[in-house]
């Protein structure tokens, strides 16, 4: 019940954007525009999946929606590719953040609350995962799983390297909360550990958790692009990463096919910027002391 109240409170606060800073507003606006763009993908015509349906490397023209951003070297519409790419990249990001952040949340809270041997083992495991350079490991996994790769699986692969950071941070917050008066008071008044976690600790972690989800999404989008550079993303689907992969493959930059190069890169940079702004916006809202430092 306490949880529901806090969730409601948080949403109420987030909805009250008047109270949020400029950063949050700017970030949310950019993200909203990109989302609208992505939602247009539901109107994708069936012929979009065929190669060479359109003339190759056609510069943008206003003759129809398909040509608004021109076409690629393999005769596909950049516009429809981009709209689909946004949605697919976001799906990967959401899968990753939901998995990684919640695994991190559970492990972080448990090891923070339980302490002792459980804490030591869990943190050793977490630290070892942090010590493994994430990218080579992901590349190895993606390479092995290439025959059966899909959006969900890609999310799982990326979350393997993302969860330890969340776990570490959540544990640190839990440890500091554990020493706070209200938690000690709850313990002395005979509350069970689970009840303390849910009604006393969880609500205070929620703010961090929200920003963490957004940051993990940001990281996941970047990781997907990185995998795609190596041809390890889902090549047959449109994602922001695979769009860049084909750009590289066809040397579009050196042929100055700007209409093909600019949209995915610009979208990526704007997406990174918007998510980052939203997350720092929430952080500053939750912790007003940060505002001074900007």
């Amino acid at each position: 019940m306490g949880v529901r109240l806090v969730v409601q409170g948080l949403f109420k606060n987030i909805i009250k954007t008047r109270k949020m800073g400029l950063k949050f507003k700017a970030g949310a606006t950019i993200f909203f525009v990109i989302m609208i763009f992505g939602l247009l993908s539901f109107l994708t015509p069936h012929y979009h999946s065929y190669w060479y349906h359109f003339p190759q490397a056609h510069p943008p023209s206003l003759q129809s929606v398909d040509f608004i951003f021109g076409t690629t070297s393999n005769g596909r519409s950049v516009f429809w590719s981009l709209t689909n790419a946004i949605v697919n990249s976001l799906i990967i990001a959401v899968v990753t953040s939901m998995l990684a952040c919640h695994i991190g949340l559970i492990i972080g809270i448990l090891s923070g609350i339980k302490g002792g041997v459980i804490d030591k083992i869990m943190m050793f495991l977490t630290d070892s995962f942090i010590a493994i350079p994430g990218l080579p490991l992901t590349i190895m996994l993606a390479m092995i799983l290439k025959p059966i790769i899909n959006l969900f699986l890609l999310g799982v692969i990326i979350s393997i390297i993302s969860w330890p950071w969340s776990a570490r941070m959540i544990r640190a917050i839990t440890l500091s909360l554990r020493e706070k008066d209200f938690v000690i008071f709850a313990k002395f008044s005979g509350m069970s550990t689970w009840k303390i976690i849910f009604s006393e600790i969880f609500p205070h972690i929620l703010g961090f958790h929200a920003t963490n989800i957004i940051n993990t999404m940001l990281g996941a989008i970047g990781a997907e692009v990185g995998l795609a550079f190596l041809g390890l993303s889902i090549i047959e689907m449109d994602t922001l990463g695979t769009m860049i992969y084909w750009i590289q493959r066809y040397g579009a930059i050196l042929q100055n096919m700007w209409w093909w190069v600019v949209p995915p890169i610009a979208t990526l940079i704007l997406l990174f910027l918007s998510l980052y702004l939203v997350s720092t916006g929430i952080q500053e809202f939750l912790n007003p002391r940060l505002r001074r430092v900007k």
Partner: protein
């Protein structure tokens, strides 16, 4: 002579290093074990496609299967599998590379490693130094136009990975201002010639630039500035001002000294991320380092080489982090003289 507590700390830190490498390898082993895909079948098929080996010789195929079963720790009892896997990872003995046969994985990697290390050391140190100094200096002019511009720029650059920014650089320098060639470089054989140095320099400039711009103006600038603003409002800084110390002295001994120490820790924590980003950046610029090698290995289905690079990165990053942690107490006087 080192104080006793330091020796204790060093030994403990090295123990941690061994434990992390060991656990990391174990994790890799477990992950490979639970893969739902028959890796060895995959490799043999790919390998045959690449080398064009005839399927006719069943003896050769059987031997290949055996070798790969051993490399991936699939031979013998569970314990045997584990031990042989660990052994191969630690010694990086992954046999012959499919891509560069008859060279072994070790040979291929040791040829490319200096390039990656050079790029990483050069660009990481430079971006760390530049970013921290700019951050501290700009904090002294808080509220000025320059400070606001740099701050907005940093917010835009901060979340962009190196390799995405590298694309922007390629577009600018490859097409609009064609200063640098993006074709694979060919090294002159004489290492001491001027030509060699120029080639290395040209190969390194753009990848280093993308790492330095993002690292310096994004990451390190933001954190250094935030820290500097905190220090400026601290009592010891104000007291330094009250004593009338020269501005440059305050900047060096009061701001930078107190910023750089925690930033060393931040650097050691982020080494893994920096390393991964740099690998991908290499690919975009055809830089002849481990990253480009990894790209070639992935495309050729050269699993032994990929495993070799993974194990190399695990050991490399863990050792680098450990070295930084070991150096830290020698740099921070507060720990040295506890």
């Amino acid at each position: 002579m080192l104080p006793k507590h330091l020796i204790k700390y060093f030994l403990f830190r090295i123990l941690i290093l061994l434990a992390t490498i060991f656990t990391a390898f174990t994790i890799t082993f477990v992950i490979l074990k639970i893969m739902p895909i028959d890796i060895v079948n995959n490799i043999i098929a790919r390998s045959m496609a690449v080398t064009g080996a005839a399927l006719g010789d069943p003896e050769a195929v059987r031997r290949m299967y055996e070798i790969y079963y051993e490399i991936f720790g699939l031979k013998g009892t569970f314990i045997e599998q584990y031990v042989s896997f660990l052994n191969r990872f630690l010694t990086m003995d992954f046999g012959i590379s499919i891509l560069a046969r008859p060279a072994t994985v070790q040979e291929v990697i040791s040829y490319r490693l200096p390039w990656t290390v050079a790029l990483l050391v050069f660009s990481t140190i430079l971006s760390w130094v530049i970013g921290n100094i700019i951050g501290a200096v700009v904090s002294l002019f808080e509220g000025s136009k320059l400070s606001n511009i740099l701050q907005s720029l940093a917010i835009i650059l901060y979340p962009i990975p190196y390799y995405v920014f590298a694309l922007v650089l390629i577009y600018i320098f490859g097409y609009i201002i064609p200063l640098f060639s993006l074709t694979p470089i060919r090294l002159p054989s004489n290492i001491f010639s001027l030509e060699f140095i120029i080639t290395v320099f040209r190969a390194m400039t753009l990848p280093a630039l993308s790492i330095i711009v993002i690292g310096a103006l994004g990451w390190w600038f933001l954190s250094s500035r935030a820290m500097a603003l905190n220090i400026i409002s601290e009592d010891f800084y104000l007291y330094g001002e009250i004593r009338g110390l020269p501005k440059l002295h305050l900047l060096k001994k009061y701001l930078l000294k107190n910023i750089l120490l925690p930033q060393i820790t931040a650097l050691s924590i982020n080494l893994g991320t920096i390393f991964g980003g740099a690998l991908l950046t290499e690919i975009l610029f055809n830089y002849p380092g481990l990253g480009t090698l990894l790209y070639q290995a992935v495309n050729a289905g050269d699993y032994p080489l990929v495993l070799g690079i993974v194990s190399m990165s695990i050991i490399g990053v863990a050792v680098a982090t450990c070295i930084m942690d070991l150096l830290y107490p020698l740099i921070d006087p507060r720990i040295r003289y506890r």
